[in-house]
Symmetry: C2
Subunit: 184 residues, 2 copies
DNA sequence: GATCACGTGTTGATTTTTCAACAAGTGTTT
DNA sequence: AAACACTTGTTGAAAAATCAACACGTGATC
């Protein structure tokens, strides 16, 4: 992709997040963004149809970035190193995810993340054929909610414990299920 | 001027100065700059004919910026507030001017600054007609060298005293001449 | 001596961004 | 009700940056 596109999209999103932290979503205008980013107002419309679209794309982007840092981990799934790299990434980009998760993300970020993780959990459970014998919906939502709950708690409380600790604790809590459901 | 021009020139100069600090002028290549700045190599040639031209323009820009901060001061010339704002600006942009003054500016920055200040001093002295009675060349170069010497000493020694002190001291040293030559 | 890797400076076609102007909507002030 | 300031979303022409490719020079390596 053209470097200019990457750069301007990045710039617009960063500016948007800055303003989100400063004044909240409703008070943000397209003119605000253009002015702060020092780009032409028309350029914003070249990439996003309106500020709602921008919020969507923003959420989509940061959900993807978060999950990529999980996929890039050496092991495939549910391994300690996968969780560790997720939490390390969160730690590095703390301010952004704190913003997206709390108040101003308007809950959209959380629900988008939830859907994708639930999807993944369903697939992981489905690998072992014998798991299909009983209702996996309950299991999926139990595990997904648990994981996201921990993630939210950790971010909203400004990372009260370090990455190492939260990873270990999470692995301990998941241990019974990794044995039962995962086919590795 | 088009925002794109301002931005790319700024970006190229900043990248150039970064590389100047890192590896020195000779080892810098145009490709280096383009790569680090994440712009097309051709774009650099759109603004500068080669790296020597870039160095020139860079020096010119930062000499002008320095002098603007003098001109923008409320009083016209040789006033404490004028000097103060110059040193405040230098303090704010310490790393850049340290770089331009020492080794890697290759002396071009100093001599360019010298010429302009000498020019200004000549003009200031010339305001009072009776000054023309004797050789002003000597006076001009005495005052210019003195001022630049102080400036260089202050920067090269990493600002060993604060802005207030250096301004006062300089005003004290210049006092006999402000009385004699300036027409305020 | 040939080859290779690398930097230079330039070209032309393509894409993105800019700018200024527009019509339309909204809320505030007089 | 009219005037005002401000934001929205869109338009077309102009300017800029991008990309891939070129010929050329230089120095190292085989």
């Amino acid at each position: 992709m053209d470097r200019r596109i990457q750069k301007t999209r990045q710039l617009i999103m960063n500016t948007f997040l800055d303003l989100l932290a400063e004044k909240g979503f409703e008070k943000i205008t397209i003119s605000d963004i253009a002015e702060r980013a020092n780009i032409n107002r028309g350029t914003v419309y070249l990439h996003y149809v309106d500020k709602f679209d921008l919020l969507d794309k923003c959420i989509e982007t940061y959900v993807e970035l978060l999950l990529n840092h999980c996929a890039n981990s050496t092991d495939t799934n549910l391994s300690a190193s996968a969780f560790q790299s997720v939490f390390e990434y969160l730690e590095k980009n703390f301010t952004i995810y704190k913003l997206l998760l709390s108040n101003e993300g308007v809950g959209f970020f959380r629900s988008r993340l939830y859907d994708i993780i639930a999807q993944t959990v369903t697939e992981v459970i489905g690998i072992k054929p014998e798991n299909n014998a009983f209702s996996n919906g309950i299991t999926t939502h139990f595990l997904t909610s648990g994981f996201i709950g921990v993630l939210e708690w950790w971010i909203n409380n400004s990372m009260p414990c370090n990455v190492q600790e939260i990873t270990e604790q999470l692995m301990f809590l998941l241990e019974p299920y990794t044995k039962r459901f995962v086919s590795l």
